[in-house]
Amino acid sequence: MSAQNARTSSTMQSSEWDLVMTRVFDAPRELVFKAWTETKHVAQWWGPKGFTNPVCEMDVRAGGAIRIHMRAPDGVVYPMTGVFQEIAAPERLVFLCSALDDKGNSMFDVLSTVTFAEERGKTALTLQLRVMKATAAAPQYLKGMEMGWMQSLDRLGELLRSISRMTQ
């Protein structure tokens, strides 16, 4: 199982990953970990700007299932499923995520490893992504999603413009 190999590799270098992202959050590690593992919190931030998560279910244990339906500002729903492979609170989370098409087939599977490191009261988060599978539909899916949130930014721009007109 390649998913297993990627995780247990002892010489893990960033070059083994397709994408590595880091971000420092001004919050204690326990809180950031909580925000990733409690659905009432996850539903508040998962997905691009303007998205909501009408379905957000997580069984937070190794082998536990993840089910999230993201709803774009234009109303399109993007379902995804996943499974947790490893949970080491509050340091590490490993899960496999799949985006589903309208027939429920996976368009891409991404293995995500999230590491939470304490940094003087702040939390350095590292997200390592390994693409396990990606079909020809995968780029279209993400492009569609991006259109959804770009529109929401446009809408915000419009709102700001109309407000500034009113206050002039």
Partner: protein, 125 residues
């Protein structure tokens, strides 16, 4: 092929193959030239080249006897485009997480302040 992106990602997952592609980015090369930086047998190098060829990442000349290898950029662009979209997805999510954490922190300190006040009023009684 439906799974072309997967194949590209699979081909890119190996450091030797990435090194071969990096070499080809500066121009076409023969198999012998490609093999020279590696402590690897020719059949092993040929195997890597076959994977790259199947993924459409390289093409091999038919005309010349030495059959030079050439980089084919289109699948790389597909992968780069996909990765770029996915990165943006996460950046957006991180922005929201950042805002939300500040909200949680504020809520937390407010409830703690309330608790203290509560204890204080209790003592007065």
């Amino acid at each position: 092929m439906n799974d072309r992106l997967s194949e590209t990602f699979g081909a890119l997952a190996d450091p030797t193959r990435r090194a071969i592609l990096a070499r080809l980015a500066s121009g076409e090369a023969s198999v012998t030239e490609l093999a020279s930086p590696f402590a690897m047998s020719m059949p092993a190098i040929s195997k890597h080249l076959k994977v790259l060829e199947r993924a459409g990442l390289i093409a091999r000349g038919r005309e010349a006897q030495w059959r030079p290898c050439r980089l084919q950029a289109a699948p790389l662009q597909d992968v780069a485009g996909w990765v770029d979209h996915y990165r943006r997805f996460w950046e957006e999510s991180f922005d929201r997480l950042d805002d939300y954490l500040q909200e949680l922190k504020a809520r937390d300190s407010k409830s703690k302040a309330k608790e203290k006040k509560h204890v204080r009023t209790k003592r007065k009684d």
